[in-house]
Symmetry: C2
Subunit: 223 residues, 2 copies
Amino acid sequence: MKAPGLPLDRRSVSEFTATRLSIYVRCLAALEADGVAHVSSKDFARRFDLNSAQIRKDLATFGEFGVRGVGYEVSELKRHLTSILGLDRTRRVAIIGAGHLGQALADYGGFRSGGFSIAALFDNDAGKIGMKTRTGVDVRDVADLSRIVERDAIEIAVLAVPAAAAAEVARRCVAAGLKAILNFAPVRWNAPPGVRVKNVDLKINLETLAFYIPNAPTKGAPA
Amino acid sequence: MKAPGLPLDRRSVSEFTATRLSIYVRCLAALEADGVAHVSSKDFARRFDLNSAQIRKDLATFGEFGVRGVGYEVSELKRHLTSILGLDRTRRVAIIGAGHLGQALADYGGFRSGGFSIAALFDNDAGKIGMKTRTGVDVRDVADLSRIVERDAIEIAVLAVPAAAAAEVARRCVAAGLKAILNFAPVRWNAPPGVRVKNVDLKINLETLAFYIPNAPTKGAPA
DNA sequence: TTTTGTGAACTAGTTCACAGCT
DNA sequence: AGCTGTGAACTAGTTCACAAAA
């Protein structure tokens, strides 16, 4: 095993690779739970329907984690990838927008474990500010965003606001120094350099999916 | 303008292109709202930070919608793309899993307009079956999935169930004849041929985003 | 032998640049 | 003139296949 050779600018790593790292960690956790101590890239690929060369290439971006002729040590590799993704420390997340989706996300278990914690939920509706979600997250005034982001060292914003408000809220997030935004609002907007945005547009996902649905076999239509 | 030449197997259209079609429709709607009747691919690209050649290539997959020397007629192009995406008829969607996320999705406006309607929300928890969400969607027994899918001509499943239940529920969806699944469960699972799955894994999105966050400048560290 | 790590080959996606139409 | 539609060039991502290591 060799430590990563050079500092490596993460921005040069493709989002495809970064996403797969995350998948690998999850797969490795499954193997660990099954008591598997060791895998070759070939076994790993077969088990999770991936390509073994791709796994090796992805890992090679960050170092040499395997032993030739043997394979990878499951928990060691998991530890390495977890560290590469920065999941070995907790990042604080702010959710902006305390509507149905924002509250559901605040209460969603997946966001509250394994490297992330919901620091606060923000809204601009006086009727919501001060309340708590089902799992006890406070709803705060979005006017205090900047102050709380700094005070609580928040690193990630999750935007769950209506389309009309999204651009203005995104601007506030950037002004507050946030460098990562997970955007659920149905709005495309170009982030300034140094700020990374990931759009999770439910409507577009649904429309894309719909595009591939075979037409209902109208009576007598060819298959 | 020329009609699409050949029947064209939609499966050969890349998901990148399909996703952009959806984006184009949204952009065209914005132009229409601004009273713009006409665009060239160049204007369109500049306005929404896209590449004009890409727009033309994407459109060329489906026909010739422009006029050389002139450009595209906004509402005509929107109408064409809407039809290509099948958004000119309403597709019925079933949401499986009436937890926080499932309920939020059921109540989410974006899923209830422009080509989609929430036909039902399913769960296996007797305590939830029979209740209604805030906006009045009935929670039904997932055991009746197959029957209701057929009866109500449901075409799309949205999976919002816990990871442990996802594989079994996905199997039921396929058995019920559903050909499109939008999966929010943090589980990778390989769909049988003819069934299209789109994974929206919130945890993986967050982890991928976290990967790119520049390290907090530890005292004295180089930029 | 087995399996990694990696250059080379391949495939897919994007952008360029221009012929051809209006 | 201006702009579309499209082959050609380019870029990025994936897979192959093998030399080097254990």
